[in-house]
Symmetry: C2
Subunit: 130 residues, 2 copies
């Protein structure tokens, strides 16, 4: 357990006490099957997604589960996760970040650009406190 | 990175190749403010939620971020996360699990019973592969 200064609340001029957006999706028929199998390469993609989304990564960890991989990045602003099923060319991703300085949609795009799904189901959940 | 046998696909008689449910929520005006501040106690609650939801915890980790806490449990069946803002008596939780043997709604309830929010915004996202 680490003690870290907060960056999860909104900046000056905030309309909300906590501005949180959770962008999540199911990636079907991913063309990049090698990436679905590789914890090391998936971690690199998640780090790139966090960087492009303006997020600060505190820690990243991955697990090989059967054929698939789970990657969790804890970011100062909340979290990014990717779970993969290479046998089905399937992956699910979550980008949940707080603060107007972050862009979870952009981070989501980076993940899609890397995994190359033929079809994406995307959802957005507001995680706000007004 | 650990190698673990898969338990994220559905069991025999499955209608779907991957049956995933993501139950998420915003907890407002939590009465249990001490719990919102304690990484150690929050980890215990997350472990209890996983147990009640029939999930297998692979790893759990927590961070103190400003006044708040982030807890991430990676479970064999996907993940559970809790982020808290004690200064606002606010928390957000995600329980995402795959496989018909798990009950993410029950795990969500355990988290709510512990944090005692006055109001809950709950959502469910399907993370299926048919």
């Amino acid at each position: 357990m680490a003690q870290i200064p907060s960056s999860r609340t909104n900046g000056s001029g905030a309309q909300m006490r906590v501005f949180g957006l959770h962008v999540y999706g199911n990636f079907y028929e991913c063309a990049n099957t090698e990436l679905l199998k590789s914890p090391e390469e998936l971690e690199k993609v998640v780090l790139e997604a966090a960087r492009e989304g303006g997020m600060t990564v505190l820690d990243i960890k991955s697990w090989k589960i059967g054929e698939g991989v789970s990657v969790v990045a804890i970011i100062l602003e909340s979290h990014i996760t990717v779970h993969t099923w290479p046998e089905y060319r399937f992956a699910t991703v979550d980008v949940y970040s707080c603060g107007g300085h972050t862009n979870p949609h952009r981070a989501f795009e980076v993940l899609a650009e890397a995994l190359k799904p033929a079809r994406v189901e995307k959802g957005v959940a507001e995680r706000h406190l007004e």
